[in-house]
């Protein structure tokens, strides 16, 4: 069933059904005087289904009655409110409908199954996004400059001891800093020791004790035991990740294209001269939250916002 729900076709049909409903409810065919509320068995089933998805059991007859009663109540309020035009330009209603459409667009093509060739091409075009960063294994011995009259000399002394086989766990100043990391990227090292230290460390090759290297905490003597250089993994190693990114990109593109096609159907008209004000870029007038004229669905007339209304701008 889940599989079925993921079918893009289903999403389209859902989308269509919603739009159909929206058009239906907002057109003249919705008579304010309509006094009949038909509760279909399908609707009852759906109410019961909502309940069971929340509680993982079917509702009792009493609970079901409550659900139906609530549905009827909300249906009556809904119809009366619609008849009064309360939905028009209500920001919640607008937002909800727009969100529904966006979510459905989001799902477009999400589950498409590209072949390896498509993924290979995608990986190649986006190599840096999938690159494995260089990774280091190292140990460090910390030296707190505040605790020594001559930190540089103390560093040299410690370095000598370490190179002579001294126990790194017993040398240096006590600190909460971790004694080292294994197979850590520059970013992971930086999170513990700061950026400067991480950068310096990436320049080191495996070998003996070296230093001192400065961090935001003080001085460190360091021994790098392993240094895996950055590399570009093959598709087989990271197919799942590439597929996820591929789908994500395709989803964005499909959504944007669908939006652009819809937008082509509208004339966007700025009501007055657009040459003044920071929000006046002709490319980005779009519908501001309260400027749409409901009588002219195909023309969106945007009055210039009194101040630079950032919300009225579209993302590029």
């Amino acid at each position: 069933m889940l599989r079925l729900l993921r079918e893009p076709l289903i999403h389209f049909l859902i989308l269509g059904a919603i739009l159909f409903l929206v058009f239906d409810l907002t057109s003249e065919t919705d008579q304010p005087g309509e006094q009949r509320i038909v509760v279909t068995s399908g609707q009852v089933e759906q109410l019961a289904g909502q309940f069971s998805r929340t509680w993982l059991r079917p509702p009792t007859p009493g609970e079901l009655e409550g659900l139906v009663e609530r549905y009827v109540r909300s249906e009556i309020y809904y119809r009366e409110a619609l008849a009064m035009g309360l939905g028009q330009d209500d920001p919640y209603v607008r937002n909800r409908l727009a969100l529904k459409l966006e979510v459905l667009f989001d799902d477009l093509s999400a589950e498409a199954e590209p072949g390896d060739a498509a993924l290979e091409a995608f990986l190649e075009a986006n190599g840096e996004r999938f690159a494995e960063p260089a990774r280091l294994s190292f140990r460090q011995v910390y030296l707190n400059p505040a605790q020594h009259a001559d930190p540089a000399a103390e560093a040299q002394r410690l370095l000598g001891l370490l190179r002579d086989g001294g126990d790194p766990g017993a040398l240096g100043d006590v600190s909460m800093l971790i004694p080292g990391l294994d197979a850590a990227s520059q970013d992971e090292i930086a999170r513990q020791f700061g950026e400067g230290f991480a950068e310096a460390l990436l320049g080191l090759e495996p070998g003996g004790w070296v230093g001192p290297i400065r961090s935001t905490f003080g001085l460190h003597l360091v021994r790098v035991s392993q240094h895996q250089p950055a590399r570009q993994p093959a598709l087989a190693e990271i197919r799942e990740a590439v597929l996820a990114e591929w789908r994500d990109q395709r989803r964005r593109e499909a959504k944007e294209q669908a939006y652009q096609r819809l937008r082509e159907r509208y004339d966007i008209v700025m009501e007055t001269d657009v040459a003044d004000g920071p929000g006046a870029d002709v490319e980005t007038p779009a519908a501001s939250a309260d400027a749409e004229n409901p009588d002219e669905p195909d023309a969106i007339v945007a009055a210039p916002a009194p101040s630079a209304d950032r919300a009225a701008k579209e993302r590029p």
Partner: protein, 652 residues
């Protein structure tokens, strides 16, 4: 100390192995305290130096946000949020995204984990829904659209438009429409998208996603909100839809939420927990002592259920810091921090002083001791978490990189002057938004299970944004030598319990000892001081509190009244700058409670204060070249709050 050498090397091994990419295939047991008869060698197996040695206790802090909203939350969308689940996860794991306000945004440092907690009301069922048969493709129209979709790109867009047009004109095949109209048999829900996104971005060892939602109970404008966090993935959390507040399916009463949680665990075999937030906006109903807002008396059942389902409390976030209030804690010089006490959430009712005692975490911890005496269980025995509650899909609460409460408070010259709420009862001014907070979790590894389990056992702490490392242990025999050992954490776990734990009872009158130490954020401010906050219940059933300075920087001497002089202030407001020329990068001590009475129940938690740094408004003023409103605070001392350690007397 003869065990030093083995300890040192074992500690090293454990810490070395606690790195993100080394996932042991086996489940690692939680640390089990030593019994008298066990020897150390039984507990720490393996040779010292191997980085693959088995870890036996949490050795790393993983940073995250328990509380982020995306455009899927109705109110977030209303404010203009357009970023969804994908962008939220991408941003949290360190990628640059385009904020809804059209400006690029990137975290200074990635988070290790994230809970997206969109409001459950209005989220669950987006569509009215669809049933279907595989045979649908046989329909002529269906086939046409399906093929377009498979091609993607332009063909897919064209199919979408064709579909819209066909439906709009009522030309759809009626037989097909019947299958997919409202009242069909199955459902699609946003919740499925939420669960699906969490599964896609969960990357054990590197970035953990915990599935969650916010149950947004609002009683006449008073905030009773809880976030729910699952330990489980799609196989369990995907079987239900989130609990809402609308009867008859949902409810605003936390007792009903507990029943829903109970039912979830029973039916699916999964695990979930809840945490409340913003008691400061509840107008006196978040932490009831005598009766709930419904009038129902607080009893043993309420205490038991709340303790069971709410092991954490979100103590700090964008809508105010909820640790302490100066009215309740007049002797605490640092209690008045980012205080929001004008009214309830929507300012429909003003705050009165009588409400405060039921709103703030420290007072709740104290009242919990009283309720335990009355009902046998402490309902307010919670660990301390920090969340953003950002409604932008951006968990961005670094002071110099603060993306605000909602899209209309994303960086812009005028955002300081734009109130969060304002009416005849008062205002939550725009400059009052708090760039806070995050949760540090002491866990064995960065996975859903390990992070959830740490939350459940309360081995967590809250910060107002910075990522200082804090250890806090309580026991009966810590000595100053312990903290000067190479790896105090080993002794911490061996001789006592970590934050979130209970002191083991002892016979006798000896006072408990606490080992606390803190390391400043690697790219943040130095530390001013470490404090231990104690709350206790006396023999007359009255609660008390006291804040002890236990470790501090710069060799300061307390004055005759025992008060520590301020650490100083290096903040240059005009240039949005400060320096680490005061304070200490590391502070720690072993502290013994000087006022201990073995007959009185008590709790202890550590509060770690940074030196003063600029608030976000200062960075705004500098970058946008605007004036800071006169009433705005410009500097503050950011802080960490550890989960408490509790002491319960022997029953006579």
């Amino acid at each position: 100390m003869t065990t030093r050498n083995p300890f040192t090397s074992l500690a090293t091994a454990a810490l070395l192995s606690a790195v993100p990419l080394l996932l042991s295939g086996q489940a690692l047991a939680q640390y089990v305290p030593l019994g008298d008869q066990e020897s150390l060698s039984d507990v720490y197996p393996g040779k010292a130096y191997s980085p693959y040695a088995q870890r036996s206790f949490p050795s790393r802090v993983f940073w995250g946000d328990t509380h982020l909203h995306t455009a899927l939350s109705m109110d977030a969308g209303l404010f203009g949020a357009r970023l969804g689940l994908d962008e939220a996860y991408r941003f949290a794991r360190g990628e640059e995204v385009m904020a809804s306000s059209g400006q690029p945004a990137k975290l200074g440092r990635p988070l290790d984990w994230l809970v997206i907690a969109d409001h459950s009301d209005g989220m669950g069922f987006i569509t009215d829904l669809a049933a279907g048969k595989p045979g649908v493709i046989a329909f002529d129209q269906g086939k046409r659209w399906h093929e377009g979709l498979q091609q993607g790109g332009e063909a897919s867009a064209a199919a979408a438009l064709d579909l819209i047009g066909t439906f709009a004109q009522g030309q759809i095949d009626p037989e097909m429409f019947a299958e997919y109209s409202p009242g069909g048999k199955t459902y699609s829900s946003i919740w499925e998208d939420v669960v699906d996104a969490a599964e896609r971005y969960n990357d054990p060892g590197r970035f953990t996603t915990l599935i969650g939602f916010e149950w947004t109970s609002l009683v006449a404008g008073a905030n009773l909100h809880r976030n729910v966090i699952f330990r489980d993935g799609a196989d369990k959390a995907g079987r239900i839809v989130p609990y809402t507040t609308q009867a008859p399916i949902g409810s605003t009463d936390p007792l009903d939420l507990y029943a829903w949680l109970e039912n979830y665990e029973k039916s699916t075999g999964g695990s979930a927990l809840a945490l409340a937030h913003n008691g400061n906006l509840s107008n006196g109903i978040m932490f009831p002592v005598d009766a709930q807002y419904t009038g129902r008396k607080i009893d043993a059942e309420y205490a038991r259920l709340r303790a069971k389902w709410e092991p954490m409390y979100e103590i700090t976030q964008i809508k105010g810091d909820g640790e302490a209030h100066p009215f309740l804690s007049p002797d605490d010089a640092f209690a008045d921090y980012e205080t929001w006490d004008v009214g309830n959430l929507d300012l429909s009712e003003v705050k009165t002083q009588g409400m405060l005692q039921y709103e703030y975490a420290r007072e709740a911890l104290k009242n919990g001791l009283l309720l335990e005496q009355r009902h046998g269980t402490n309902p307010y025995k919670f660990g301390l978490a920090g969340g953003t509650d950002s409604h932008t899909a951006l968990a961005a609460v670094e002071e110099e990189n603060f993306f605000g409460k909602a899209t209309n408070a994303e960086p812009a010259p005028d955002r300081m002057g734009h109130p969060f709420a304002e009416n005849e009862n008062g205002a939550f001014r725009g400059d009052m938004l708090v760039a806070s907070g995050y949760t540090g979790v002491w866990a064995e590894e960065n996975t859903r299970e390990a992070i959830y389990d740490a939350m459940a056992r309360k081995e967590i702490y809250a910060t107002t944004g910075p990522r200082m490392i804090v250890r806090f242990f309580g026991g009966w025999g810590y000595t100053p030598e312990d903290i000067n050992s190479r790896q105090p954490a080993f002794l911490g776990y061996e001789k006592g319990v970590p934050m979130g734990g209970d002191l083991k009872p002892v016979k006798g009158k000896e006072a408990p000892t606490f080992m606390v130490y803190a390391l400043r954020d690697p790219i943040g401010a130095n530390l001013d001081r470490v404090q231990i906050v104690k709350g206790w219940l006396d023999q007359d059933g009255k609660t008390h509190e006291k804040v002890y300075d236990v470790a501090w920087s710069d060799g300061r001497k307390p004055d005759r009244k025992g008060e520590l002089p301020p650490v100083g202030n290096t903040v240059d407001v005009n240039n949005a700058n400060w320096t680490n020329t005061i304070g200490a990068s590391e502070l720690g001590t072993v502290w013994t409670d000087p006022d201990f009475d073995p007959a009185q129940s008590a709790f202890y938690y550590a509060r770690v204060l940074e030196i003063p740094t600029p608030r976000w408004v200062v960075y705004d003023a500098f970058r946008f070249g605007v004036e800071i409103p006169e009433e705005a605070e410009t500097t503050h001392q950011e802080r960490a709050y550890t989960s408490p350690i509790w002491y319960t007397p022997h029953k006579a």
